[in-house]
């Protein structure tokens, strides 16, 4: 009887060990990818920040012209750009970002633009209105892809297909914290600039004129923001996966330790029993 359970335990230890190997390998792959992703996320940040501030400043100052990009409209149709990962096993990464979307969307029908395989799959499974499924792989999206996408979004917005455009992504705060975030892309939020201090007397010249400048800048701005968000999300995904795999490896180690203890006890028990039997046999 002890022999059977010993064999069982041995098998479980072995399977645990191979699981540990896999999680360990995944952790290391994620860690090396993370380094690169983190670098590119850090590289895009100054651009992201400068673009965001500038667009906000212009929107807040704007008085003599009325670009359709700034005018708030009655919101009937919303578009959500959702950036999630291409693969699972990354802890709560995909779940958290999709949950944020679910919370914000409300009950009205919305249109989504999923980026990343997991986002696309989930949206398709929920029967959401998918605007375009041409971005299935988040990791393969280039700068020019995000600019093309931004142009598409802008022209759809100008045509009135959407009244509001939001972006859901995961911001990479540190190795240990990644927060899902939602930002309104269009119409441009006038409050971004207003909250920042500035001298009210300043008059800004727009050349050739405000509207032309704005219509040129907004697609660029969107493309930049989308690409920046993509880099942040990519870094977050790798960090989330690294953490998830790290704890999976630790759990596997704990279980192996526990099982080894049980195995040794069972072995000891079997030996004791054998000796007892031999002694009993010799005594008889």
């Amino acid at each position: 009887m002890a022999g059977v359970s010993m064999k069982d335990i041995k098998l479980r230890i072995r399977s645990m060990e191979s699981t540990k190997h896999i999680t360990k390998a995944m952790e290391m792959v994620a860690a090396s990818k993370l380094r690169r992703a983190e670098e590119s996320a850090k590289r895009t940040r100054p651009y992201f920040q400068l673009m965001y501030d500038t667009a906000g400043d212009i929107a807040a100052q704007d008085s003599e012209f009325s670009s359709p990009y700034i005018l708030p409209r009655e919101v009937k149709r919303k578009l959500y750009v959702i950036i999630a990962g291409d693969r699972g096993l990354a802890g709560g990464y995909n779940h958290n970002v999709l949950k944020l979307f679910e919370e914000d969307r409300g009950d009205d029908p919305v249109t989504v633009l999923p980026i990343g395989k997991k986002a696309l799959e989930t949206m398709a499974a929920h029967n959401e209105n998918i605007w375009s499924d041409s971005y299935p792989l988040a990791a393969e999206l280039s700068i020019s892809d995000s600019f093309t996408m931004a142009k598409g979004i802008c022209s759809a917005f100008l045509k009135g297909e959407f009244d509001e455009v939001s972006l859901v992504y995961t911001s990479f705060e540190s190795m240990l914290t990644q927060t899902p975030k939602l930002i309104k892309l269009l119409p441009l939020d006038r409050d971004i600039g207003k909250s920042r201090k500035k001298d009210s007397a300043s008059v800004t010249i727009y050349e050739p004129d405000g509207e032309t400048v704005f219509n040129r800048i907004i697609p660029e701005y969107l493309g930049g923001v989308v690409f920046g968000a993509l880099c942040e999300s990519e870094a977050s995904e790798q960090a989330a996966r690294r953490n998830a795999m790290d704890s999976a490896t630790k759990n596997a180690e704990e279980m192996i330790e526990d099982l080894s203890l049980k195995y040794n006890r069972a072995r000891q028990g079997a030996i004791t029993q054998e000796i007892t039997e031999i002694v009993a046999g010799a005594g008889a």
Partner: protein
């Protein structure tokens, strides 16, 4: 009056310049403009062309494409889509891109509108890059 102004240049590849400059010359969608210290608040969109940054009496040249330029009281921000210093431009690559784009435009009959616009844009970018790099 100060004879320099604070200039910041950032692209998707990171912060490229952050410091004091005496003069900045860029090509906007309406033509070249030159920014000197004490300029009034100003916003414009960038075209495709050469940018010159004057720092400590030296002229730094670069290929600067797309994006925007803002001048405020505190600082000048240049946020282009691409910005490459002349010495970093890969001339061979630019020439190759130019040849490929020209080839694509020659066969315009069997290309879609989108492909033609993309090729034209590539050609313009390649021309800017190679002209900036050659002048070095």
């Amino acid at each position: 009056m100060a004879n320099t102004f604070k200039l910041r240049i950032a692209t998707l590849d990171g912060q490229i310049f952050d410091g004091e400059a005496e003069k900045l010359l860029v090509r906007t969608i309406d033509g070249d403009v030159c920014i000197l210290p004490g300029h009034i608040s100003y916003v414009t969109a960038l075209g495709m062309g050469e940018a010159r940054v004057y720092v400590n009496g030296e002229i730094k040249r670069a290929a600067c494409i797309g994006g925007l330029l803002t001048v405020s009281k505190d600082e000048v921000r240049l946020v282009p889509t691409t910005f490459e210093w002349a010495e970093n431009i890969d001339l061979e690559r630019a020439e190759r891109a130019r040849a490929a784009a020209e080839q694509a435009l020659k066969e315009r009959a069997d290309r879609s509108n989108y492909e033609i616009t993309a090729a034209e844009a590539r050609l313009k970018r390649a021309l800017v890059r190679s002209s900036v790099a050659k002048y070095l």
